[in-house]
């Protein structure tokens, strides 16, 4: 079922369980208690950052499957993505899981690309239990996208700190037991490119993409500005979040300011050295699959629109001075109280 560009899921696919894994910086952040596993070791005992990132995703997947009361053989399809070249973190995790697998890439928006597709597969009856996950590791991203970590290049205050972590969720048919959180709709984003070339100001580059998707979602479903308890963007951080809020107000979408938040701003304390805030696939991945779903289960949130934002640049496109195309995918979730 479709309304405008927005998918509706009449069978209301259900999030049976979710899990979030974080690194040392995330352990010092204000959401630490809503992580399932926290690591004090930046290397996670591995001999490379890439292997550490893979371990993050493996742990998040294992934990989500375990919390759903399943075994990995019960999973019909695994949907995952990450930020490393050729999404090796997801591919190698899928090797260990040995279940049917589809690799995804929407940069940091992959978390909601995965959740939207998981809901679609379950709603369409093509799968009964779908596992979806994302991961990013600060140092692995740094050396791929920016400079070698040992180089110590300066960064401007608009730069963001890639979250070290992973988030995963198991999506099942509507009536199964679990968190009580159902997926009601998803809006797939369009690529928006405002010509920004600075990879140290990705929040500003991504904000218009988030605005485009949020506007489309509200228009398609004819929703009032206060329909959701929270509209959460993935990793716009300080600069991008402000632009997003201002742009939405300018377009006449009356969303109360206190109902808009950004995962990149929530995951770290103000005094942590993370520049403008968090970024990375695990920004929305850990905050949504860890903190937000728990808040929904606790009864503090009922309806949430998660808008994961992604900057679709590659190290090559940046070196060749291309601008940064951006995308945002939105998934609407709702807690249904047991009847």
């Amino acid at each position: 079922m479709r309304q405008g560009r927005t998918w509706l899921f009449p069978t209301r696919p259900h999030i049976a369980a979710s899990a979030a894994v974080g690194g040392p910086m995330e352990a010092q952040g204000p959401l630490a208690r809503d992580f399932d596993v926290l690591h004090e070791d930046f290397w996670l005992g591995q001999d490379s950052f890439e292997k550490a990132e893979q371990k993050l995703l493996e742990e998040a997947c294992e934990k989500a499957i375990e919390k759903a009361g399943m075994k990995k053989e019960d999973i019909d399809v695994f949907l995952a993505g990450d930020l490393l070249n050729q999404i090796i973190t997801s591919n190698f995790t899928a090797r260990a899981l040995a279940v049917p697998y589809l690799g995804l890439f929407s940069a940091c928006a992959t978390s909601m690309e995965g959740l939207a597709l998981a809901a679609l597969l379950v709603d369409a009856g093509k799968a009964k239990r779908v596992l979806t996950g994302v991961a990013s590791h600060n140092a692995a991203s740094e050396r791929q996208y920016r400079y070698p970590t040992e180089y110590g290049a300066q960064k401007p205050p608009t730069a963001q700190w890639t979250v070290t972590g992973a988030g995963a969720a198991v999506v099942v048919e509507g009536h199964a037991p679990g968190t009580g959180v159902h997926i009601t709709a998803a809006t797939v984003g369009r690529v928006v490119d405002m010509g920004i070339q600075d990879p140290f100001n990705m929040g500003a580059a991504m904000a218009p993409a988030a605005v485009e998707t949020i506007e489309t979602h509200f228009r398609d479903l004819r929703l009032a500005g206060d329909h959701y308890d929270l509209i959460l963007t993935g990793d716009l951080a300080r600069v991008g979040h402000r632009i997003c809020v201002d742009l939405l107000a300018e377009r006449g979408l009356a969303i109360p300011r206190d109902r808009m938040a950004d995962c990149g701003l929530m995951i770290y304390r103000e005094d942590q050295p993370v520049f403008a805030g968090g970024s990375g696939a695990a920004s929305s991945g850990t905050v949504f699959y860890g903190h937000i779903l728990r808040e929904m289960v606790r009864g503090n949130l009922r309806r949430v629109l998660m808008v994961a934002t992604g900057a679709l640049l590659s190290p090559v496109s940046y070196q060749q001075k291309e601008s940064i195309p951006c995308i945002a995918h939105a998934v609407a979730v709702e807690r249904v109280d047991p009847a």
Binding site: E142, Y147, P148, T149, A153
Partner: protein
């Protein structure tokens, strides 16, 4: 007074570098090499040594001094042994700094994991 001028001149060179990064969006490598080339040009025009006399460490510590030293070494050797001296003299003044970087870099790489 030399401390004051060292602070001002050294600081100004760093401000120029910072502006190259923040305003002109150069990469750190482009900024560093540009400053080396500027130092070399100033050295060739015999303008850098007067700056060193004036500001002391304020002019010798920043990377521009490295460019100046390359040119000074090459010119001095060229005077002694002709055109070939440009090649043989280029690292004459700077050899201590470069050798130290290589040797200490090697020693540190033996002791610690040098790759992030």
């Amino acid at each position: 007074m030399i401390f004051f001028w060292a602070f001002v001149v050294g600081g100004l060179i760093c401000v120029i570098g910072q502006i190259m990064l923040d305003v002109f969006k150069l990469t750190p490598a482009h900024m560093t090499t540009t400053l080396v080339v500027v130092g070399a040009i100033l050295g060739g025009l015999e303008l850098y040594d007067p700056l060193i006399d004036f500001a002391g460490a304020g002019a010798t510590v920043p990377i521009t001094s490295f460019g100046n030293a390359l040119v000074r070494g090459a010119l001095a050797e060229a005077e002694r042994s002709g055109l070939v001296g440009v090649l043989t003299g280029i690292f004459e003044v700077t050899s201590a700094g470069i050798s130290a970087a290589i040797i200490f870099g090697f020693l540190m790489a033996l002791l610690f994991r040098s790759k992030g």
